[in-house]
């Protein structure tokens, strides 16, 4: 199942052990912490801008965050690799069974965790139960032009493929499911399968270091499957048994 860091792995068995369909690999050794993925994700998915005060209080609604840590104490302070964290699209998502209204369900066809905005009543149990704290909540109508007219022009760049959420609703990274759907529709209309690399989520598209790879992990020939089986690979909070679909590569040269 999981690949241990710094231990050799039998490549041929690894893909069969992987569960799921869509997966992502984040190479922490390549990530520069530039936050281009954060900006791109916010643009692609109509993520609201909450303002300085609310952001400082922990209400920033970015679906992906770059976590920064340091080791040691002054003057021997060392930075650790940047850690981009987004929804891990767990196979056994703890956020799903706790929603009282089925707003957080599992897609059997895409093996993704879905957040159904128009069903959410805002009890926020899913957010409490996510061990990765990957879920964010719409605390106010941040993009309401009546309250913040300076943001009116930003609405011109909203992505028409993605719902705009109102206050009281949970949201999270969806692996850019609108792009997955678009690629699947195109492939179906052209009577072919989806090619590897055809679905590129916004974060992977924007990353200047190509640190994010995305694709089908049930197909061992895809780039993402091959990237996931190196000895640098690990999962976040593995011992909780959530079986995340995001693999992190770290610890190499």
């Amino acid at each position: 199942m999981a690949n241990e860091v710094q231990s050799p792995v039998n490549n041929s068995n690894a893909a069969q052990q992987v569960q799921g369909k869509w997966g992502m690999v984040v190479d922490q050794d390549l990530c520069t912490g530039c936050q281009a993925c954060v900006a791109a994700c916010s643009m692609e998915n109509n993520v609201p801008f909450v303002g300085e005060v609310d952001d400082a209080y922990g209400r920033s609604q970015q679906w992906i965050r770059i976590e920064r840590f340091w080791q040691g104490s002054y003057p021997d302070v060392k930075m650790t690799p940047f850690q981009p964290v987004m929804c891990q699209q767990c196979h056994n998502a703890p956020c799903e069974p706790v929603c009282p209204v089925y707003a957080s369900v599992h897609s059997l066809s895409e093996d993704l965790n879905l957040q159904v905005y128009n069903r959410c009543v805002g009890t926020r149990y899913c957010a409490n139960n996510c061990p990765y704290q990957a879920r964010v909540f719409n605390w106010r109508d941040y993009m309401d032009p009546r309250q913040r007219p300076e943001l009116v022009t930003l609405s011109n760049q909203w992505n028409p493929d993605v719902t705009v959420r109102r206050r009281g609703v949970m949201e999270k990274c969806t692996f850019c499911i609108q792009r997955i759907r678009h690629a699947e529709d195109t492939a179906e209309s052209e009577n072919r399968d989806i090619r590897d690399g055809e679905v590129v989520p916004a974060c992977a598209q924007a990353c200047p270091a190509n640190a994010i790879t995305f694709g089908r992990i049930d197909d061992p020939t895809t780039k993402v499957s091959q990237a996931a089986v190196t000895s640098r690979a690990s999962h976040l909070l593995e011992d909780l048994g959530t079986i995340p679909h995001v693999t992190y590569l770290a610890g190499g040269a």
Binding site: R59, R65, E67, V101, R124, Q133, R167, V169
Partner: protein, 476 residues
């Protein structure tokens, strides 16, 4: 060698208690007791109306208007954030459900165990249950992001062709709290019927119409009493497991989550005992207020009742300490680093003093005061102890919910919780609770007079040897 036992310390008084101090051995004619209860209902002084006015003002501003702001602007006006998605609203939910458990405990468990001193205050406790559950329900609605869609949690056929998810502890909550609310309201109403009939017989004007409608034509025939008593017995036995299950299910809202500090198997019984702890203390506070502000109540509610409550409260506080120690010891010993960080944050963090104050209120206060018989029989002291215990138990829920949510397994997200509008809404729920109680005290006979008379009929002084021994006969 003298065979007479000498006191170890001091000289304890050895005189006999005067049995007429006890309500059950101090009977008055039923007609007189009825008149006393009705007089206390009809008497309203300027102090009553001033207090009602202040409470109504607080309800309108701190509950209605503040809630309007909350709904229109969204939960951003509260202090919730990531990772503390649940704050004081949930603390209030657990607190008020805890208060409501006292009513059932006194009304059901003491009735089943035939503890006679419960007789005058079962209704006061049951009213606390109903009104406490109202506040808990309001607090649940307050914490929801889209409260106008909360009817989606009701499991009835609908045009959306989707039902709620019963895998969720919140749905178990929904079913359990509604069951408890309905059943405890019915259980409040059942023993109230004969007293409503009494009030109907002795009232005029709008009160007579009010009591006539509510008394549903009760007369007291054999068949009616038999049906009433059978139903009351079923309720008394059946509502006890429901009471235990309700707060257990509320605790599972937290225990089912995979958070450090929350994923604890002891939460079920721990929360139930916590509920009893705060509830019994609240009953003492309410009884003190009834006794000191309403006419004629000093006859019905006597130091012996505070004694009973205090003894039960002492036992419950010991049980609470036992469960709390369990919940504390296992993570402290066990070495899960996140649990240790959480304990460190709770006890030595920026508001670590709150944790110590909680232990003082919940353990030190009851253990140091409630052992003394004279102090147990002092109503104002019991009210203060009750107030401190309730403050301590509110803090305990604060420690469990917002403080535990601050620490999770992703340290980059840790944030302190600073409450904002929820403070006003909390004040509003307390004001509404007391306002409802104030109104009920003048509309509903607070003392179940028929039960008091029933008890007095069964209590006699029986001469055994040379002494008059208070004796209870089982005439029901």
């Amino acid at each position: 060698m003298s065979a007479i036992a000498k006191p170890f310390i001091g000289s304890h008084t050895t005189e006999q208690e005067d049995p007429h101090e006890h309500l059950m051995h101090d009977p008055l004619p039923r007609g007189e007791m009825n008149a006393m209860v009705l007089e206390s209902m009809h008497t309203t002084t300027w102090k009553y109306w001033t207090l009602a006015g202040i409470l109504a003002f607080l309800v309108v501003t701190c509950l209605v208007y503040a809630w309007y702001i909350l709904i229109m602007q969204g939960l951003g006006v509260t202090g919730d954030n990531r990772p503390v998605y649940w704050g004081i609203f949930l603390v209030n939910v657990v607190f008020w459900i805890g208060i409501s458990h006292a009513g059932t405990f006194i009304s059901a468990i003491l009735r089943v165990l035939k503890i006679e001193s419960r007789r005058p205050f079962t209704r006061a406790a049951e009213l606390m249950t109903t009104f406490g559950l109202v506040q808990a329900g309001l607090s649940v609605f307050m914490h929801m992001g889209r409260v106008w869609l909360s009817y989606w949690l009701i499991p009835i056929p609908n045009e959306r062709t989707i039902w709620p998810d019963f895998h969720s502890p919140l749905m178990w909550d929904f079913m359990a709290i509604n069951t408890y609310l309905l059943c405890s309201t019915m259980y409040l109403f059942l023993p109230l019927i004969p007293d409503l009939a009494m009030a109907r017989d002795r009232s005029t004007g709008w009160r007579k119409t009010f009591y006539k409608v509510l008394a549903i034509g009760f007369r007291g025939t054999e068949g009616e009493w038999k049906n009433l008593k059978t139903a009351m017995n079923i309720f008394a036995f059946a509502i006890i497991p429901v009471m235990f299950s309700v707060h257990t299910i509320v605790s599972w809202d937290f225990a089912m989550a995979t958070r450090p500090g929350w994923s604890s198997t002891v939460f079920g019984p721990y929360f139930v005992i916590g509920a009893l702890h705060s509830g019994m203390a609240a009953v003492a506070v309410v009884l003190f207020m009834i006794r000191s502000t309403m006419k004629n109540m000093k006859y019905f509610i006597r130091p012996e009742h505070f004694d009973t409550l205090a003894k039960l409260s002492l036992m419950v506080s010991m049980a609470w300490a036992y469960f709390y120690f369990n919940d504390y010891l296992v993570p402290w010993y066990g070495g899960d680093k996140w649990e240790k960080i959480l304990q460190d944050f709770t006890q030595r963090g920026p508001i670590g003093w709150l944790w110590y104050f909680m232990l003082f209120c919940n353990i030190v206060v009851p253990w140091s005061i409630l052992w003394n018989k004279k102090w147990r029989r002092t109503p104002w002291l019991m009210a203060i102890v009750g107030l401190l215990i309730n403050i301590g138990m509110w803090i305990e829920r604060y420690v469990i919910i917002p403080e535990a949510l601050t620490i999770n397994r992703m340290p980059f997200t840790w944030q302190i919780y600073v409450p904002k509008l929820e403070i006003f809404l909390t004040i509003g729920t307390f004001a509404l609770f007391f306002l409802l109680y104030l109104l009920a005290s003048r509309l509903i006979p607070l003392i179940p007079v028929w039960e008091v008379q029933e008890g007095q009929e069964g209590h006699i002084l029986r001469k055994i040897g040379k002494a008059q021994i208070p004796t209870v006969s089982e005439i029901d």
